[in-house]
Symmetry: C2
Amino acid sequence: MKIFLAQQNYHIGNFEANTQKILAAITEAKAGDGELIVFSELAVCGYPPRDFLDFDDFIRKSEAALDIIRQAADTIGVLVGAPSRNPDLADGKDLFNSAFLFYEGKEIGRVHKTLLPTYDVFDEYRYFEPANSWNVLEFKGHRLAVTICEDIWNLDDNPLYRETPMDRLMEQRPHVMINLSASPYSYRHPQVRQDIIRQNVACYSLPIVYVNTVGAQTELIFDGGSVAMDQHQNISLEMPYFEESLQAVTLRWNDETFAEGIQKSALSLPRITPRTFSHLEPEFNIASIHEALLLGIRDYFRKSGFTKAIIASSGGVDSALVLALACEALGAANVRALLLPSAFSSGHSVSDAEKLSQNLGNPYEIIPIAPLFEQFTESLQPIFGDLPFSVAEENLQSRIRGVLVMALSNKFGPILLNTSNKSELAVGYGTLYGDMAGALSVLGDLYKPQVYALARHINRNGEMIPENILVKAPSAELRPGQKDTDSLPDYPVLDEILYQYIERQQGPEELIALGHDSALVARVLGLVNRAEFKRAQFCPIIRVSPKAFGTGRRLPIVAKYLS
Amino acid sequence: MKIFLAQQNYHIGNFEANTQKILAAITEAKAGDGELIVFSELAVCGYPPRDFLDFDDFIRKSEAALDIIRQAADTIGVLVGAPSRNPDLADGKDLFNSAFLFYEGKEIGRVHKTLLPTYDVFDEYRYFEPANSWNVLEFKGHRLAVTICEDIWNLDDNPLYRETPMDRLMEQRPHVMINLSASPYSYRHPQVRQDIIRQNVACYSLPIVYVNTVGAQTELIFDGGSVAMDQHQNISLEMPYFEESLQAVTLRWNDETFAEGIQKSALSLPRITPRTFSHLEPEFNIASIHEALLLGIRDYFRKSGFTKAIIASSGGVDSALVLALACEALGAANVRALLLPSAFSSGHSVSDAEKLSQNLGNPYEIIPIAPLFEQFTESLQPIFGDLPFSVAEENLQSRIRGVLVMALSNKFGPILLNTSNKSELAVGYGTLYGDMAGALSVLGDLYKPQVYALARHINRNGEMIPENILVKAPSAELRPGQKDTDSLPDYPVLDEILYQYIERQQGPEELIALGHDSALVARVLGLVNRAEFKRAQFCPIIRVSPKAFGTGRRLPIVAKYLS
């Protein structure tokens, strides 16, 4: 059977655009003699629709779009993801997360998702009732075992769920597994995902067609990488990462192919679950992180209807990297750098930032903040009196910069990109409404060593980010001679503790057992937990790790735990 | 049996303080000849612990606290809520949301929560495995049907769940229902909650002991109101709202009492589910909203270790109301008002704000922002040139104010309270990092008419908020002669559309059917959805309605739906 895999980038709630994109792929697949075309999970409305699912109007619009798609499925089978209503109004949630099979203008099958991820960034049980019956879909004499994303992740070693949909479907002797996914990127996930697909093939001895979505949905990056694999675990088709693609695979089977495979095989593959992470390695998959961030920036702007960005360029490595990424994603002419030196800025801050923009070719402007700082000092003098310079004056400078970049944003329309990194956000080393301002955080899921590794990667074909930016000691430059290490532990030690605490949920006992100083552990974890109120007001962060700050990490603000 | 109900205010993650509080109540109940004392849901760790539950260290600390409580349960039975580990590591989530029964120093029973609310502000399926077996707890010859919060909310007419734990427990002929809750306040919820309790009594013909927690956990207000009801639906004990209380009730039963009630009765009570809301009525339950906000402010400060607040006092009704509430909650001497008039401020703005602080007796200071505005204009002139006054200059004033109040906050330590209301937040009528700044939003869940109603309520015993503030037309005063109605529809129409869209999830078709102009509906819903990026950076909002902005309302930021 010739099957087209449609790896597409949808716009949440934009039914018209999504439907047009789906129809175009159907037309192309028909022209290519496809018998079946498979789209990704919740393709019609875009994933994740979140609480839009609570609106009956949203579901009606999705149903209307499905109607149009159904009519286009005349001589080709179309398998597409969309929400569907739970007909049993008296029992369970109102909706299922479903896959519809259309053919000859009719719906000939529908399956519902069984395993509803409700952890990290996922909230599916908030909206959906799990499937409670399992049937293969009959199509032209073939028996399709259709599942949706998480449904194939509950192999023997995954403790999250009690049910395993493929075990149920095997009772009906399917010919092929087809999985519709919306599986987001993190730096190790493409490998983990392909391992899981291979484990399913090994387990059930069936070929698989796996279709993932692609594109950024604010903080979530869907990286594509759809695959088809035959029953011997050979990859028949691997689609690209981070871009749309429509490709076909021809899979063959007959009743003998799988007769011997009907028994579920014992697994001897290593345990891989969403809860298992490995140690932080700064260089790890830096090229894929690079692509993920570019897609994240590009889609945020494109889907919001914006084209231009503005960045406060300090001469430090974080803003330099964000500027380089923004220029690559949006075009240098669309990215405006604003240099905002203070009386405490070192001479190289301005010259490094100027050199950077000259390398990148983006426009930049300079506004010294000293006159503003002086006016604030004067205005506050009746209240501050002769109190010594303190964190108030440090934050004041950061906030003056925030006001200036936002003034340009409001006047000319460019969107402010935030430059905070994960190490700073973790310990609260940032100023609310100052350097924590911005619509989108580009580096908020990268620890400082990853920031440097990515900056070096940007320079792989020649210097874009001036070398001096990469070698000087990090400093907020908010008081004379300030260095990050005045207030923070050295980054390597800090980041190792942060990684163990944030990504791996290790507590003080475990951290001390790893050899860390108990006073330092207590200090760092206290900083992290007390900074929760700041992160609660922070913008969305492009997610590249298995545990990013934001929607995937939900902690009480008013609490007293390790703080 | 003499049962003590312990309605207590816990601090999330503060095991030491929570345990001391629980032990003190046990001591008092023993002195009062109690046979059993009942605490609320997840009392040991505080509710909601959110992702702290992912930390093994957190669970170990909870277990250590439970050990201490168990030992105190010598001559008295203690029923207390805490997380417990799922012993079946191969199947399901790691934890249960449990109630432990301790007596004679031993654990003599444990039940797990079955119905895990995963909607609005609740995320319980993110953490917990639902119960899959049901047993009454035997205690001194009595059979206790113990359930946890949501477990009693799935009567016949509630479509959210497939299971009804009390139906299972009835098979074992219990003598009494006991429910441990953490049920948060919204302005109609105390009544709905008591109706549900009554429905359970009507349905199962058993007495009930219902223990709710009390206290604010950032945005969530737990209002107490624990009750005991006999099998004839008479209230034997009703505990106060919004405060801690420890009281006893003596309930009697024998095997005959419930023999006739063993059959579940058909329900003829009105359908009440968490999804059903009624129309907005500004005056509705304004006294309880008042108490909820006071508790919300008080606990935010107390549990964070702060005592002092600062508020930007504009002479408008929103900041006046926040100032009055803060003075009542924290003491007027602890609340600092900062008056920040601009060139566009009307004369009455300052005089009204001064009069307000004189009425309230709180300290206030004035910093005119004109010199700062002029300095920003001068600093920006090389870039702005001769471009006309626009939203950039309006926001600039708002952000200068934000910088000033934050400077005082950083210098002297008071916490900035935000003054935005729900109508403004809904349509994005506010300046990020300006008037949207603050650690806690006091009025962010009140529509403008509710703000006025509460302000009038504050004045019920004499003028605190000057009358002029209550009668003048709302204005942001960011350009000459500006009125809110220049940019927004009149509040009554606006608020009715907002309420139907936000609280009741009504779409354009439904709103037009209600008689609203289709162009106005499209405009308002577009404003709401396009402002999602602003609300994503907003501080926690004290929740008083069934649908507040914040953790209970999760929408995509980059999307195109009704926008």
